[in-house]
Symmetry: C2
Subunit: 768 residues, 2 copies
Amino acid sequence: MSHYQVIGTRPIRHDGVDKVTGRALYGADFQTAGLLHGRILRSPHAHARIRRIDPSAALKIPGVIAVATAADFPDPGDRIANLGEGAIVLRHLSANCLARDKVLYHGHAVAAVAATNAHVAEEALAAIQVDYEPLPVVMDVLKAMQPDAPILHDDLTTESMAAPNGATKPTNIAKHLHYKLGDPERGFAAADVIIEREFRTATVHQGYIEPHNATALWNADGTLTIWCSTQGAFTVRAQVAELLQIPVSKIKVVPMEIGGGFGGKIRVYLEPVAAVLSKKAGRPVKVLMDRAAVLAATGPTPGSYIKVKVGADKSGRLTAAQAYLAYEAGAYPGSPIWAGCVCIFSCYDIPNLLIDGYDVCVNKPATSAYRAPGATNAAMAMETVVDEICERLGIDPLDFRIHNGAREGTRRADGLPFPKIGMIETCQAAKAHPHYSAPLAPGTNPAFPRGRGVAAGFWFNIGLKSTVAASVNSDGTVSLVEGSTDIGGTRTSVAMQLAEPLGLRAEDVRPNVVDTDAIGYTDVTGGSRVTYATGWAAYEAALDIQRQMCERVAALWKVAVDEVQYENGGVVAKSDPNKRMSFKEIAAEVQKHGGTIVGRASVDPPWPGGAYAVAIIDVEVDPETGKINILRCTVAQDCGRAIHPSYVEGQIQGGTVQGIGWGLNEEYVYDDQGHLLNASFLDYRMPTALDLPMIDTVIVEVPDPRHPFGVRGVGEVPIVPPPAAIANAVYRAVGVRMNVLPMSPGRVAKAILAKAGAAGKPAGATWG
Amino acid sequence: MSHYQVIGTRPIRHDGVDKVTGRALYGADFQTAGLLHGRILRSPHAHARIRRIDPSAALKIPGVIAVATAADFPDPGDRIANLGEGAIVLRHLSANCLARDKVLYHGHAVAAVAATNAHVAEEALAAIQVDYEPLPVVMDVLKAMQPDAPILHDDLTTESMAAPNGATKPTNIAKHLHYKLGDPERGFAAADVIIEREFRTATVHQGYIEPHNATALWNADGTLTIWCSTQGAFTVRAQVAELLQIPVSKIKVVPMEIGGGFGGKIRVYLEPVAAVLSKKAGRPVKVLMDRAAVLAATGPTPGSYIKVKVGADKSGRLTAAQAYLAYEAGAYPGSPIWAGCVCIFSCYDIPNLLIDGYDVCVNKPATSAYRAPGATNAAMAMETVVDEICERLGIDPLDFRIHNGAREGTRRADGLPFPKIGMIETCQAAKAHPHYSAPLAPGTNPAFPRGRGVAAGFWFNIGLKSTVAASVNSDGTVSLVEGSTDIGGTRTSVAMQLAEPLGLRAEDVRPNVVDTDAIGYTDVTGGSRVTYATGWAAYEAALDIQRQMCERVAALWKVAVDEVQYENGGVVAKSDPNKRMSFKEIAAEVQKHGGTIVGRASVDPPWPGGAYAVAIIDVEVDPETGKINILRCTVAQDCGRAIHPSYVEGQIQGGTVQGIGWGLNEEYVYDDQGHLLNASFLDYRMPTALDLPMIDTVIVEVPDPRHPFGVRGVGEVPIVPPPAAIANAVYRAVGVRMNVLPMSPGRVAKAILAKAGAAGKPAGATWG
């Protein structure tokens, strides 16, 4: 089918053996002479003013070398920086690393210690005296929007809120977005069925297996080296440069291997703290988080309140949709409310839209990106409402989605028309899959009701900057240098895009992820962009190598360069196809005279067309306990082009599992004083292999016509549909429409009881 | 004088603080988890057959993980590889790392152990049973050339020796070179004065402060990573690939900082041994040499026998010259005899030449490159003979050299004409220096005779391949990536050549020496080539950045690219010089949209024109002990263009000091069984600061017209003149012509006594 030799095959990943034999070096493995160990003191309060920090007792402990507080950071003033993850108010970023005047969540970093070993550092933390003035907390997004809510930031005012009297006053609402498309009022008037529902989703953590870590060495010449686990070494460099007010070129960030990130390892937490500790100590300082700190004090995805109203006519055509989304920013502004607003209806071609979105501060950790950030919350709402409409209209849910699916030219909520996209093809592939027409999968107990649900999801993958360099070795291989940290196998998916145009095997390319001094600027590994953008750069670098090989061979043959061309893995004479030199021959020949052939490219491509996924999920529900078991799960996804199908499948499976986690169990549990009660993997319940069936995947390929190989990006969208698909399956099984995430056993059991006990009331769960 | 802004200035070196604060990481600093410690068992015999190696007792010691012998290396067969230092017979290189059938010098590596710590490894060495059959030794180059000499290599035959009967038989003579130019017989017939003298020079070590080290990790996927101290990471990669018969792309060589090399850290010793130990152990293995091993078993420069005959006419014109050079190869063929032959007369324009050179194996360590290899031995001979001719003819020695100096078009011994060179300008600069016309410098004791000598030296610097990449940072700086290990400040001298064309400061460039996977092929740091060739690549990379900046600014201004140009640190509109964007502005602007700007270049330039140096040295001689004190020393050298004058001066001073060491004290002392008796820095006497005056330098700039900045290379030639200059000064002081190096007190005293006691005999020293 494919005319490619490498693209679409499944070579062994280049870093595979290193990873499975434990040789790969992660941040925690880093060692150097004279290393000090840093630890962070965290707030026991969810909201409090810091009256005073007194480190004097800690500094007296033998082995304690330095203590750092926010006073050691330069005053960030009102500066705003664009740091790859969007605009960041530096005051917030700085205070999130070390609280300046107030602590805003339980676990907020307050001070840091560097000591000769970790035990002394921990002892010292206990000796730091912090005088707190506790303040009332606000943990709920809707309560935080009330006029009388406790206020997190006195300097966050209603300037964008259009207060009735024109005055501004402190608020927790950091942003209000408003989108209108067409004439929503007329659209709803034309509807034969209108469904309006409210939803709540919980705060959820990415749950990457590797805790955050950072080692910093602030050298006597003012240069700073940082070894850390990050999705973007250049992003760390930029953030630290801004926070510490030193030029980026004074900082080298060495990305160690990364044990998962999912969006949560873009913002810095420890890096600037390790840096100031190192500056004060004059020695390298390594700071590690434990799991409790990761859960309590790094960026989860927002909990949210969403209200959706959707109308359709009898023909099954969507006529209008309206959404109100309130996302918890956590301690500092910055929830993915924009993405929530634009994604919520992006599976569909709906002529009339009205959307209001709110970014709201609460006393929880500052939220961060998490795989298709903001989209999963939104899909839970929209996709269950669509399911209800299909039920009312008696239309097959996939037929409905095929009928109403977004296509090229459909306008997004923000008015931009979609380029070529694969929503409809993905729904068709799901419908054609045997799962969809098969009887329900068998359950564990014949007495448990079973049901099947489907849901779709959209995510706009991103482009951004990538740089690669590729040096031809004398043995006919290529050393590839890239700035994209490899989380999901991108060393290989990028190498393959270099290999293909050169007629090499993937194994002939040796990919290397290097530090920020050793490659040109490259944006984060995130937004499903690496295989898309860094792969694109690799393709361009291959063409650059082709060009140079043509020049060198033409010189060797003493012909004009336009008399030769690169094809089938070598340079051939246009006039005589039998006159050729293979890549390997050229590589060996070049070694004898003349400079080395080095290909390079730096790209900033247009954003890809966006990705769609559809999940089909069979569940059974224990009617007594409310526990949901996933019996069968199939996910179809348009990846544009599957460079390495195994990793595409892995991304689909991994994203689906995380979506299932959102659906079933994952949530932050706080007491009424804002204390996080479940900051461990025992109490924060993620799916394990025992909770999951084999997840079937269907790779749909609707190539993005602008990308050299049609790549769209893969990593994020599969997390989006599962919660809604589970909710729809639960409805088929037990007749209750869940409108809260997670659908934990207690909530499901309560909903079943409520339905049974109060036939007159609408079935459904309530928050809490 | 100069129109340059950066070239010729003296910025602080980029790695300076790291070095002086002890932060720079050398190979011995390298640590990793699970590290094993390797040690090498060395031969107590200078020549012996290895009957059997029995490691069984060693392997029983707890903590001993692996033992390696030559049997662990693949059979190299008869392969010859060109590995950057010229052709190498792999059989020899392999057997030098671990002896295969015979040991050929005292200290020859025989076996290696990897153990959990160094103490256990050393204990295990003692437990390895080696059954030797001692063989007769030959330590002297002339004796080794005798037909009845003990033979080192049975497979080294007289094929190139033209045996009278056409038969071949084993020999120690590995190579015979023969050069003839013009008509030497007629040349000598035309001479009015002919001087013929014999010389001996000792085996001398580079004496770098950092011993050899290597850590290897042979991974389960067949990839091999090596951390080591080397002058050429790619050369290590190539050698290890050839020795272990694995592709170069399976090997990553990470060059750690290097504490001196001077030519002695090009050939591998420990790297392949560490690799096979790691392969057997399945863990990383670090192998370090101690000082005794460095002296006994790495490559010193050859001892030599040289006979020179030179004729000149009454006008002071050289008419003919003849030389016979026999250089000790040490255990394996490969002395720099070619360089000796071509350098010996290259200071002069002599119409008739006859040269025979011999590369001769003896039971000493295999010789290696050492700063202008082969030239210092030759200059000792020629420059003292020239001094004697000047004395006979009553001509000032510098006038004589100016009169007879080589110039553009002069043919070298091998027939190649010189391009533009600076021999005459350098002699003129020396003559113009106040030192040359000043009274003799005061000595330590008015009773000690004093004298002044001069000598010249030639060395052909090299070109070879270099690759650099240079990424523009958003803060208007450039990250420079290079493959040239930095021994003498080349991070800075290369960075300056990137900065100059871009209108940046040296500090705006951040140079990085990276591993073999992270940059294109780059040859060794040696042959005075890095500032020349890698600097050239940096210049080309700067032009590449200029081109891209012009394109980007033209696009921004919406004009054709040929309507703008790069000048004075920015892009300007040709039509309006006031319309401009500076480098920093462009760097910041580019960050906002479009790919990063990355310059790159890979060069393989022609060899530079060659370098000349002239030393003026005042000495005093203690007539009783024979000890020579250096009272004053001035060295003039043509460096083409001094990129960073401080480092040029440092190279001149450092080379001069090493030349003084050759002149005064340095030599290997063996007993008659070939045991090295002075393998420590206590007994191998190098000059210290107490032995030396401030060394004045005169930078002569005769730019090489082919290099963008006129660079010629600097590092090597200053070592060449000092021994002869000292000998000439000693003659002026005490009337004896020394013809042996080193001119240690005993030898000088003996020569003075011989002169006093036997007025009839020619003054001079004899060997031994």
